[in-house]
């Protein structure tokens, strides 16, 4: 039985809990240039993002939604990265980037939580069909 405390938990690392409890860029933008929402119907998680884009650069981004620590921390981390990024570069963000940033071992059961915000970015902002979604 694991008896770890928050500080040394291998999965619920402190920075993940911090992003979960104090999400960065949380909320809505007025008159966003792009807005999109996705849900993970299997667990009820929802993540939405609003973007302000100017000259091909993401000037501002906010996310909203509800869900588990992984989906919300992942969204929070992603927004931090996206702010100020060229759209072209944002397009290149992939699964591995997102998982790498989370920095923890994600089991198959939680992978969708971790990637929900990436799906919002991809489908919403770029209209890319997510080919290999829904592995479960």
């Amino acid at each position: 039985m694991s008896t770890g405390t928050a500080a040394d938990d291998q999965f619920y690392r402190e920075y993940i809990l911090d992003h979960y409890k104090n999400p960065r860029n949380f909320g809505r933008l007025e008159k966003p240039d792009i807005t999109h929402e996705e849900d993970n119907p299997l667990c009820g998680d929802v993540v939405g993002m609003d973007f302000k884009v100017a000259d091909g650069v993401i000037e501002d981004v906010r996310f909203h939604g509800r869900g588990c620590a992984i989906s919300q921390a992942s969204a929070s981390l992603l927004t931090e990265r996206l702010k100020g990024m060229a759209l072209e570069d944002a397009k290149k963000i992939d699964k591995n980037d997102v998982l790498g940033e989370l920095g923890i071992e994600i089991s198959p059961a939680r992978i969708k939580c971790a990637l929900l915000s990436l799906k919002v970015l991809k489908v919403g902002a770029y209209g890319l069909a997510d080919e290999d979604e829904d592995e479960e």
Binding site: M1, S2, T3, G4, T5, A6, D9, F11, Y12, L17, K21, P41, L42, C43, G44, D45, V46, R66, G67, C68, A69, I70, S107, A109, R110, C113
Partner: protein, 408 residues
């Protein structure tokens, strides 16, 4: 066999029949699917290794044995639910297929434009979506009976709806999401008096409460073997003979026919009219062993054990700060407890519990309309069965506290 004294389950002895428990897991997800005892896998293996063959039209010995075991299970199931005849016992893959069979073979013919179908907000998707599809196809409309603040059906509403002479009333004997035990007998009687055909979803009823379909008085009763110690792949539709006789087949093909000619086809008698193609023979045989096992324990003892565990768990969980329990008090519910924790998503709780080998369900439990009604996206759910013991509940409590420590 594994009851001791006055109908009490000998849980320690029972647990020895379940090899999976040796790994040390606390399996608290039995409402999802149960574990299977050696007796069940043994019966399947016996078929696969000793008389593996196709049934019916047997021309040799092992096929006769297979046929006997397959058809013998029908009598076991008949006795288990007290049906009038084995002709009323149709094998299906599970509850879902059983309900779909009724929706297609009875529903398409008997439910017409503007007919009313009464369901409840407590129901499982498998007892909602087939009726939604039927209603869309035939122009019928659906009303859902709501719940009160305790998670119990609003019977006043139910009776109101019956005044509109519904064609079909379908509801679950026990809610898989809240554990609510519905007053099925009273509801069936009222619905029958109102002229409705009545289907009871017994997926959570048959395994935990048991059923006497004749006393219940319903027209159809559906349940799944895999939730009652049986293997995956085998379940049952009970239907009153008169209705089954009047129905066209659902699936068709080998074995459900009498004669096939280019000009047309005549169908086999009940129950085979509804069993097209090679059936899940080994699984049905396993189901027979599961029924034997439960009958050996006695459903009364099963209920009593679950009541005890549920009360214990309910009390233990009630003591935890920030924990919200959904559904009725333990005396009025089956061995299912849904709850949520302030500030901790059910998925996160389940992940933390999993590290302690505590198997917990997190999600909408295939009851999204209910979740919407409760205003939550998901809950955590612990559910119990014959092999569940109190120390597994204690482990759940520890996992919850661990989660609270992490998320504090």
């Amino acid at each position: 066999m594994t009851t001791n004294g006055a109908g009490h389950l000998d849980v320690a002895a029972i647990r020895r029949d379940f090899p999976i428990l040796e790994s040390g897991i606390a399996y608290l997800d039995s409402a999802n699917t149960s574990q299977r005892p050696r007796q069940v896998t043994g019966a399947m293996l016996d078929y696969f290794e000793h008389f593996n063959s196709n049934i019916h039209r047997a021309a040799y010995h092992i096929a006769e044995v297979a046929t006997e075991r397959y058809e013998g299970t029908r009598e076991k199931v008949r006795a288990f639910i007290n049906a009038a005849s084995t002709k009323e016992i149709i094998y299906t893959r599970g509850t879902t297929e059983a309900i779909n069979l009724v929706a297609y073979a009875w529903g398409r013919k008997n439910v017409h434009a503007d007919d009313l179908i009464v369901l409840t907000i407590l129901d499982h998707h498998s007892n909602i979506v087939p009726w939604q599809i039927l209603a869309a196809a035939n122009g019928a409309r659906i009303e859902y009976v709501d719940i009160d603040e305790r998670g119990e059906l609003r019977l006043d509403q139910f009776h109101k709806l019956l005044e509109h002479s519904p064609k079909l009333v379908a509801f679950s004997q026990v809610s898989n999401a809240l554990g609510t035990i519905n007053p099925a007998r009273e509801m069936v009687a009222a619905a029958k008096a109102a002229g409705a055909t009545v289907l009871v979803d017994g997926a959570q009823g048959a395994p935990h409460q048991g059923v006497d379909v004749r006393a219940l008085g319903c027209d159809f009763y559906a349940f799944s073997g895999h939730k009652m110690l049986g293997p995956t792949g085998a379940g049952v539709l009970y239907g009153r003979r008169e209705l089954l006789e009047a129905m066209d087949p659902f699936q068709s093909g080998g074995d459900m026919i009498k004669t096939v000619r280019v000009e047309g086809t005549t169908y086999h008698d009940l129950p085979w009219k509804f069993e097209a193609g090679t059936q899940a023979i080994g699984e049905v045989i396993g189901l027979g062993a599961a029924v034997d096992y439960l009958a050996g324990l006695g459903m009364e003892a099963v209920r009593e054990h679950e009541r005890e565990i549920t009360e214990y768990a309910y009390e233990a969980l009630s003591d935890i700060d920030g924990l919200t329990l959904y559904g009725p008090p333990p005396s009025r519910r089956a061995g299912v407890i849904s709850f949520s924790l302030a500030g901790i998503h059910p998925h996160d709780l389940a992940t933390i519990a999993d590290r302690d080998q505590v198997c917990l369900r997190a999600g909408h439990h295939c009851a999204m309309p209910l979740m919407t009604r409760l205003g939550v996206a998901a809950t955590a759910r612990a559910s119990f069965y014959v092999y569940t013991q109190k120390d597994e509940v204690d482990r759940l409590v520890s996992s919850i506290k661990e989660a609270q420590r992490i998320f504090k």
